[in-house]
Symmetry: C2
Subunit: 450 residues, 2 copies
């Protein structure tokens, strides 16, 4: 458990690589988990990583490849021949194999597949590649333990001994009828506890959850999380058993979804991490910043428009625009985030109207508390009751409108089938900045009678 | 799979409840999964839910209780006697049982535990309650399948048949020596494939990952995700096997972590969902809004300070403060979000300095692109080259400083052992607003020579 990458370890490794000391390198990695080896390879130079990959057994390197960062894996795969990739792939489960091959160019995909010695795996990979990205089909593995309802327990155990060698983890044994349609499931435990001469049809559990091969992956994740499933069989429209999805793949889906939502909320348009190049990071960051710039120019134009009206006494109003913009932005993000998260968890029930009324009350309450504080500050600091009143009243209304926009936009997008998560972060902040400032000046003008 | 809550279903159910038609209610729920029943109970009135809970078998209701929203569960538990809760708890695995009992007041905890008929479960629950919240110990279940290395495969299968009835899912069989210390693991598959007369010591796998009972839960989640584990044994400081944690608990931990980070980024101080009361939501939202208000007042004071200097010609500078504040806030959130996510994924390597240099280059590049655009806009729109230059140059510097603050603060907090996620959202936005506006006016004054 306690493997940690030390500089000492890396230095030793690089030393062995430079001296071509193959047996020492193998020795060094003997007791290291493949996930740790992957991390080590991300620390050494690219040429060193390639050398090590080619040196280690494909049983080990196939697992390492799956754990590597996608960018690094891509570069490594470019340096391996179709034959070498095929050797790695043959050690993988079909889902991982299809993922790796799916990352190659179409032309290389074909060459790798035809270099595979295992025809069944080749057929499985072709099938898996044919499913839509982000569908249950693209997530599933073909490996599973399948028994026919007509078999006996003893016969079953014999067959399972053979099948199980192919399957890394046996979660459930799936029971099919003679048309290959899924009819039920069994656990290994049930099988061990049963008597040898019993028929499978007598002991299987006929309540078996399954998903259609075209189901979306985040829907599958929701179902598995909700029903606490560790594996779920995948069927076609005729209920014919095609494969199974295991919980470790779902953990990845959940993590990706959460990361994506978080990044959208932070104003990043694509999946980036801190080690990406400056160009990649700029691509992810600049679009939202540009939106912010446009918003800022909008705010400038609004303020210019009110320039004449507020010159002189009421000039102090301009100094509160950052406050108004910040409050509008914050309230908008808060309310949209709650809705986006509620939608993701299937928690948002009831009509849009009732949501909006609740948000209005909530924003009014928050706004009132903040406005009283701001009113007292301006009154004491500037000694001008009317200006203090104008700014404070505007603040309450700006907060209410911001809350309503933050609530309405994600609900609206969701109804239209658009991912509501894009309505968080800069999108809401920017539109609320502009609306907020516009409303602020309009209300203030009304109150001050200018 | 396809269960959906229809108004028709709810109406029928409420009708049966009102008429006390017990057998019809049981019938209605006969083929419904407990996770779905939990959702149904959240749709009916509280009294109806209590009635249904008391009616259904505790085998079913114990599972339903675990799936209910915490607020609703709390209310239901208040309406059950210690004896009734004990009956529910006896049907649960020890980890769920401890979670439920942990939600009760200390006095009720004792009464429920002493009402338990199963002494072993009572002892297990007491042990589990004794571990720190958010530790591996608080997550683990005591149920597991354990064999001694001296046993034979045949003897093992016999014992497992007995033990397995207690354990919902058998992931791994843990092998211990006579001092109860964890020495290895076996899968059911290995056992089925082995010969009956073989000794466990000959066939077990001695590489077994484990976590210490005091390890933090998010650390356990990271380990299980990294090594693709579906269950992990928990040991004490002497490597004595205490329990096991399964992946479904980890899915919950990951989800909670992601939700928490997302909410912090959105400016919500505590775990709220859209169905919470207005008071609860206000408690979560108002503190950050108040921070925003203080920031806005800070911006006002800065602008007041520059009032004299910029009156007259350069007056237009005030109209760009929302733009400056928005850009500073956006850049700060982007850079902090990338760092926070990188830290969560253990992806951030290298020194703080190299991070800051990279962010500086990145922010300079982004800032330059945006500043050129803004420069052209102001030049064309206002026809004043010098003002356009002053504002654009300031923008670049503001963006660089905002990027550096966004990068530095989470790294600094993390070094201090504080959750860096609090450095996203309103915290960064507000501080960057103030710094941004201050720097903006200072630079502009310098360039304009006022």
């Amino acid at each position: 458990m306690a493997f940690e990458i030390t500089t000492n370890f890396i230095e030793k490794l690089v030393d062995f690589v430079n001296n071509g000391n193959e047996s020492e390198i193998k020795n060094l990695f003997l007791k290291v988990h493949y996930a740790d080896i992957a991390e080590v390879l991300e620390e050494v130079s690219f040429d060193e990583a390639i050398y090590i990959i080619k040196l280690l057994d494909s049983e080990k390197t196939s697992e390492i490849l799956m754990e590597l960062d996608e960018d690094i894996r891509e570069k490594i795969l470019k340096n391996l021949s179709a034959k070498e990739i095929a050797e790695e792939v043959e050690e993988m489960d079909s889902d991982d194999a299809a993922d790796i091959i799916g990352e190659l160019s179409e032309e290389r995909q074909e060459r790798v597949i035809s270099a595979l010695e295992d025809d069944e795996l080749a057929a499985d990979i072709k099938e898996l590649l044919s499913y839509e990205e982000d569908s249950a089909g693209s997530l599933m593995a073909k490996e599973l333990v399948k028994v026919y309802e007509t078999w006996t327990v003893a016969g079953c155990l014999r067959k399972i001994r053979a099948q199980a060698k192919e399957v890394t983890r046996v979660h459930s044994i799936y029971v099919v009828n003679k048309e290959e349609k899924l009819v039920g499931r069994l656990s290994l435990k049930d099988l061990i506890v049963a008597k040898n001469e019993q028929k499978i049809s007598e002991i299987y559990i006929d309540k078996v959850d399954s998903v259609n091969v075209n189901e979306e992956d985040d829907e599958v994740a929701k179902i598995m999380a909700k029903y606490d499933l560790e594996a779920i069989p995948v069927v076609d429209n005729n209920n014919v058993l095609l494969g199974r999805i295991t919980i470790d793949d779902i953990v990845d889906v959940l993590k990706e979804e959460a990361d994506k939502d978080y990044q959208l909320a932070a104003g990043l348009t694509q999946d980036v991490d801190s080690d990406d190049s400056i160009i990649e990071l700029t691509k992810a960051r600049l679009p939202w910043l540009f939106l912010g710039l446009i918003g800022g120019i909008g705010a400038f134009l609004i303020m210019e428009g009110f320039d004449e009206a507020f010159k002189g006494e009421a000039f102090v109003l301009f100094f509160f625009t950052p406050l108004i913009a910040a409050m509008a932005g914050n309230v908008g993000v808060q309310s949209s985030a709650i809705i986006v998260q509620g939608l993701a968890n299937d928690d948002v029930k009831g009509s849009i109207n009732s949501r909006l009324i609740k948000e209005m009350l909530l924003a009014a309450l928050n706004g009132l508390v903040l406005a009283v504080f701001l009113f007292i500050f301006i009154w004491v600091f500037k000694g001008d009751l009317k200006t203090a009143l104008a700014i404070s009243v505007s603040l309450v209304i700006v907060i209410i409108v911001a809350g309503l926009i933050g609530t309405f936009v994600p609900l609206f997008l969701n109804k239209r089938g658009i991912d509501p998560a894009i309505a968080t972060g800069p999108f809401i902040t920017t539109s609320n900045d502009i609306f907020g400032i516009l409303i602020y000046f309009m209300i203030a003008r009304l109150i001050l009678g200018i």
